[in-house]
Amino acid sequence: MIGRRGWIGLGTVMALLALWFLLTTLTGLVTGARFPSPAEFWLSLTQISGRGYAGGQLFSHALHSLKLVIMGFTVAIATGVPLGLWMGWNRKVEAAINPVFLVIRPIPPLAWIPLAILWLGLGDAAKIMVIWFSAFVPSVINTFAGVRNIDRPMIEAASMLGTPRWRMVTEVIAPAASPLIFTGLRLSLQASWTTLVAAELVGALVGVGFVLNMAQQDIYPGMILVGMVTVGILGWATTLVLSAAERRALAWNIAARD
């Protein structure tokens, strides 16, 4: 069933497509040098899907970017979530790490890009490093907040049941903090894509950001639009996967909130 909202949404999208066609193709008010017409967009899409552009087909560019995001994101949460758990659990660790964090946190993730290129060049390693740095912070902060927000009786119940340390972390602390951990993961994923696209725009040899960069230099609006749409679809698809994982993992929490 499509509700009122759905119909209006559909109408809006149709109207925008019609407007796009009207402005670029029928009236020519917007020229191809500013924004591509639907036909030019289609031409660019078939070009990069078939013959390729910027050294590869769209599929291989997208796959390469996706691979880097997944790798950087994985490294970031594999380090960030445990550190957040540790900081939440142990006040001494929190006190020691907080000031360092206070200094590093205000540096925007994108500001690491020149340093990463200096250290690791234009290849994959530099990209993974900047994604790691940018996605690390949200996962640490939210995990930490998640641990600190756990109801005290929950911890006390587990300790009166004689729960040993490691089981306490895996079966009590981590699940209790998981709603906020997932909030952190969503922010981390968003940061990963932003950082990767920026890093590929600054310097890369392959990837969606590199396609955007080449299209900008070639003043090729059709291809710019293809690149942007690809970035959007990739971001949307990975968010969808993460949301599905969240719904699975937090089934108890979502039902409890209703």
Binding site: R34, L201, G235
Partner: protein, 262 residues
């Protein structure tokens, strides 16, 4: 949690330990050449470079000059985002139809990283000041819109009903009920926007600008002047932090005035 809260003295002691270990490892790595000093200067090298750049120019300007030109673009971009985002958000919260029309567009654009607008921004507005402003706008716009929208959409219905009961006109209800009721949410959105805008600024300057701190860092990267790159990072961090502190102060002042927090 695990242990009782630390005393003030313990917190300071552990904090100092953390910073010392951090700076210690950094210094050891570079001073003993474990990482070539050209690629990882010592903390002292960076501090020295920072002081030098305050007065002597690099990439065409001194650090304060670069910062000033960055900040100018930044202010324009964020201001533009607020001027367009906040009223649009309020109207969306008030008029269901507008909400239903804008939301799908917004949802579609949401997943495109703001930085991906760089090529079009450069194409449409050039690489001087217009292009970067548009990218900052792209980063700062969503929180402005979303928070104003939420503030207006979830305003206490009884306030609206009370205004209606008193025979208040539509325009006046928006100006005198909806807007003030949404202010805390709007201000929270502006703070997030300011942070995201600052991030986008860095990205924009790395890619397209011909002046500003980001530009300075890219130039330094090309010349393998790591200390200058790090100086740029520190400067960006400090300004970002100052912006955040200032807005937090403003926000909590406002909340106190509204009696929302003690």
């Amino acid at each position: 949690m695990n242990s009782a809260p630390l005393t003030f003295r313990e917190t300071i002691a552990w904090g100092i330990l953390g910073v010392v270990v951090f700076l210690g490892i950094w210094t050891l790595l570079s001073a003993f050449g474990i990482v070539p000093r050209q690629f990882l200067p010592t903390p002292l090298d960076v501090a020295t470079r920072f002081v030098t750049l305050l007065t002597s120019p690099f990439a065409g300007a001194t650090l304060p000059q670069h910062l000033a030109s960055s900040f100018q673009r930044y202010a324009y971009g964020v201001l533009l985002a607020a001027i367009i985002g906040v009223p649009l958000g309020l109207l969306m919260g008030w008029f269901r139809l507008l909400d239903d029309i804008v939301t799908p567009i917004f949802d579609g654009l949401r997943f495109i990283a703001p930085i991906a607008w760089v090529p079009f921004a450069a194409l449409w507005f050039g690489t001087g000041i217009g292009g970067p402003i548009m990218i900052i706008f792209a980063g700062a716009f969503p929180p402005c819109l979303i928070n104003a929208y939420r503030g207006a959409r979830f305003v206490e219905p009884r306030l609206i009903e009370a205004a209606r009961m008193l025979g208040t006109s539509n325009t006046r209800t928006i100006m005198e009920i909806l807007l003030p009721a949404a202010v805390p949410s709007i201000v929270a959105g502006l703070r997030v926007s300011a942070g995201l805008g600052w991030q986008s600024l860095v990205g924009a300057e790395l890619i397209v600008a011909a002046a500003g701190v980001g530009f300075m860092m890219v130039q330094a990267q090309g010349n393998v002047q790591t200390a200058t790159v790090m100086t740029g990072m520190v400067a960006i961090g400090i300004v970002g932090m100052l912006i955040d502190i200032l807005l937090r102060q403003g926000e909590s002042w406002l909340r106190r005035r509204r009696g929302l927090e003690a």
